[in-house]
Assembly symmetry: C2
Homo-oligomer: 473 residues x 2
């Protein structure tokens, strides 16, 4: 009964929910760029105020040395399980700006899609859960479970302060299950639960050669160019078969049974679908694996950016003194980011020519995560999505990284339900990011059903002592 | 007598000459950057007005489709030889700006050096000749030779309109010798005449892969990254021995006698000196050649810039849709830029993986140039520098490119005297470019002596008919 009232409330208030989401999106909360620091603070303030207004208790902004966390809870059902709702209010940089059809921080409707940076990743998807909580709190005045919300502002820069915060607050954050939406569903009418994500290791490689920029006429041919050396090093990071050519990198990569690979082939995206989503004519990568397997079962190395020398219009005859590359690895079970970091550094040291000096900086890292697809929380989520969308969800692996998913498992002992509402062509991290509004509304219904299902799941939840106060960020 | 009066005038007016040079430098005449187009026009206007004031006749600004030429002459000595004075008032982009100790277009004295973009390349060096002309015209009211001045605003972008202009004005520009200063002298007390320069071919290579930027979590490992493909292509442009690995590229490279190489070893910069100037610990390049030979006798390929993906602070998980490299070749006798262009395009087409599309754009090209070191004009220049600096000059080859030097030879039949006043550490094309003022003053004296020596050189010059009017730019 109370679930139906919540569902009805969510239907009636759709237009306001959308307006509020637009407000949320307008904050250019780009965590990687220091000039946006105030925008993150303002966005966190707005979010905290919003959580207070919908009826959550103990809403707190937790400062960190960079961007604040927003915490809130409702603990009025001591006998019921506790759900930890996670999301992030920070967004990727909008570059390259000139490729946006509408300004990245001015949410714009075209058809049934809302276009803006953060529309999907992750403001739209986390708002699904916020609105589900509101629907219960504003109709029933209570939730069917205990809930703690943890919304961070540093996901896109590797969550440097979230994990220490969780570690310091194990008791206060204790939960039976975590839930978040930052993964893919294959199509608007095909929901999905993700049970595996890749880890990540983000590095910056800098090469220095001559002590200052040189005229390429006066020195070209006699001095090693750091940009050329960088290209040669990067070219040596893959072999001709598309495998990463770093010794030891595949040592701990888990092998999967024929049955698991057959199941994946059945539910996963086909090569054709992946290439369509990528607007690419042909695939690439490690031989012997489908594209979906390359994206989920196998590690990957991407050159995310290179900068060096002259980049303006026309030409400039320069040998730059330095060159910089951003490199990111996606890791799979049972790879350990710290070990991979050591292997990469050793390999780069081995292949760097003596005429340049290489510096490797680790910007971020996260472990891969796996949840047992038969866990009762996953089964509850599958049932909820089935009701919210009218179709049973597929169980998927993701190629992306959810740094907190493994942290919740390791630090809190809670499995994480990844209830994804992003379409493959939503252009997360790219220009013209969008969020499909029918998914927003069906997602809210699914999240409402999920809270109900967890509240009713006998296998989950034991009475907990009152949660202690939070430690500082 | 008149030469001594001119020399005395130049000594007395040093401070004003310096003030005028600073005025000239303050125009940010960056020819490669469209937003500076007006600055080039203003700089050309200033220069033309200056040439009028010092006593030249027929001063004209010749518009082109991009940046104007400035022409002036004095033809009051019909029985004497004609000297074509060439220089360029455009400058390289000042990037990277943050590495400048003082603003690039605010000329700043530190010690005996004037720091600014263009201080040396080429405003300071061309001003040497302007002031030598002034010294004669303002003391004697005449020059010892006929002079035509040709100052362009497009040297740093490959002189797209100068050569056609020269070709259309062969008769008006007819000269017995061309002189310019845009080359190196080894030390403040060691003048130099350069008799060989390398040619150039400047290309832009663009790779396109996916139709839009992709999230490297969702697509990393299954789609070829254009940045990675770019690195792999660039890595294949050199072999492990430091040679350019483009088939046919060395086919026409002239072989030099043991005697010439021994002479070069005697007068040319040592490996140690070149590395000191480059602030580099060790050399690099083609085996079997000294660094000086690699810079002058042998072709070179430099990656001048790479742009692609995310370049800001922190990280961004992106696979960019495109990647761009700027590549420049330095060519030697008897390589032909058009043939090299064809060879490069064919090689890149061969080595580009099928999952990306390559586009090659030719931005600029110039032939290598050679002058016989025994030509009477070179001998006159050597004598003049000997007097101006108190030391006989060395005869050098340069690794740089003077696109007009071969054009003067081919189109006007005039050898070009390259009387260089740039020190190897003057950071031409780099931050903190400088010009050493004692060289400015000794250079003016040398240029005065040079005009006198050419005027007295019986082997040069026959009476010419009155020069016809100039054609349009």
């Amino acid at each position: 009964m109370s679930t139906e009232r919540a569902l009805a409330y969510a239907e009636v208030h759709r237009r306001r929910f959308l307006d509020e989401l637009k407000e949320f999106i307008r904050f250019p909360s780009v965590s990687a760029q220091p000039r946006h620091a105030d925008d993150l603070v303002n966005c966190a303030d707005w979010l905290a105020e919003h959580l207070r207004r919908i009826g959550l208790e103990e809403v707190r902004i937790v400062p960190t040395r960079r961007h604040p966390l927003v915490y809130a809870h409702w603990r009025g059902a001591p006998a019921r399980p506790t759900v930890l709702v996670y999301g992030h209010y920070d967004v990727q940089p909008p570059d390259p700006l000139r490729e946006w059809r509408s300004p990245p921080f001015e949410p714009t409707m075209r058809g049934e899609n809302l276009f803006a940076r953060g529309a999907c990743d992750n403001k739209g998807q986390m708002f699904v859960h916020v609105k589900a909580l509101e629907a219960y709190l504003q109709t029933r005045g209570a939730l069917p479970v205990n809930v703690a919300c943890l919304f961070e502002g540093e996901e896109e820069i590797g969550s440097p302060h979230l994990l220490p915060f969780i570690a310091r607050n194990r008791d206060a954050l204790a939960a039976d299950v975590a839930v978040m939406s930052d993964t893919i569903m294959p199509a608007p009418d095909q929901p999905a639960i993700t049970y595996a994500t890749r880890g990540a290791l983000y590095l910056e490689l800098e090469l220095r050669g001559p002590g200052h920029d040189l005229h390429s006429g006066n020195f070209g041919g006699a001095v090693l160019n750091p940009l050329q050396a960088l290209c040669e090093i990067i070219a040596k990071l893959h072999d001709a078969e598309g495998r990463i050519a770093i010794p030891g990198l595949y040592r701990r990569v888990r092998r999967w049974s024929r049955a698991e690979r057959a199941r994946m082939a059945h539910v996963g995206a086909s090569d054709e679908t992946i290439l369509e989503d990528a607007l690419s004519e042909r695939g690439w990568g490690e031989r012997g694996y489908s594209l979906y397997e390359r994206l989920t079962l196998r590690p990957a190395l991407t050159v995310n950016g290179i900068a060096g020398g002259y980049q303006g219009p026309g030409g400039k005859g320069v040998i730059p003194a330095r060159a910089l590359a951003k490199l990111s690895f996606r890791l799979v079970a049972d790879q350990d980011p710290a070990e991979i970091d050591r292997l990469v550094r050793a390999h780069i040291a081995r292949i760097t020519p003596p005429a340049v000096r290489a510096t490797v900086r680790t910007l971020a890292s996260a472990r891969p995560a796996l949840v047992n697809p038969n866990h009762p929380a996953i089964r509850a989520a599958a049932a909820a999505c089935g009701k919210g969308f009218g179709t049973a969800p597929v169980l998927l692996r993701s190629g992306g990284t959810i740094p907190v998913a493994s942290a919740f498992q390791e630090l809190l002992g809670a499995p994480t339900v990844l209830m994804g509402f992003a379409l493959p062509d939503d252009s997360m991290h790219a220009p013209n990011e969008k969020f499909h509004l029918p998914i927003f509304y069906n997602g809210i219904a699914s999240a409402i059903w999920f809270l109900a299902a967890i509240g009713a799941a006998g296998e989950l939840g034991a009475e907990r002592p009152a949660a202690p106060a939070l430690a500082a960020g």
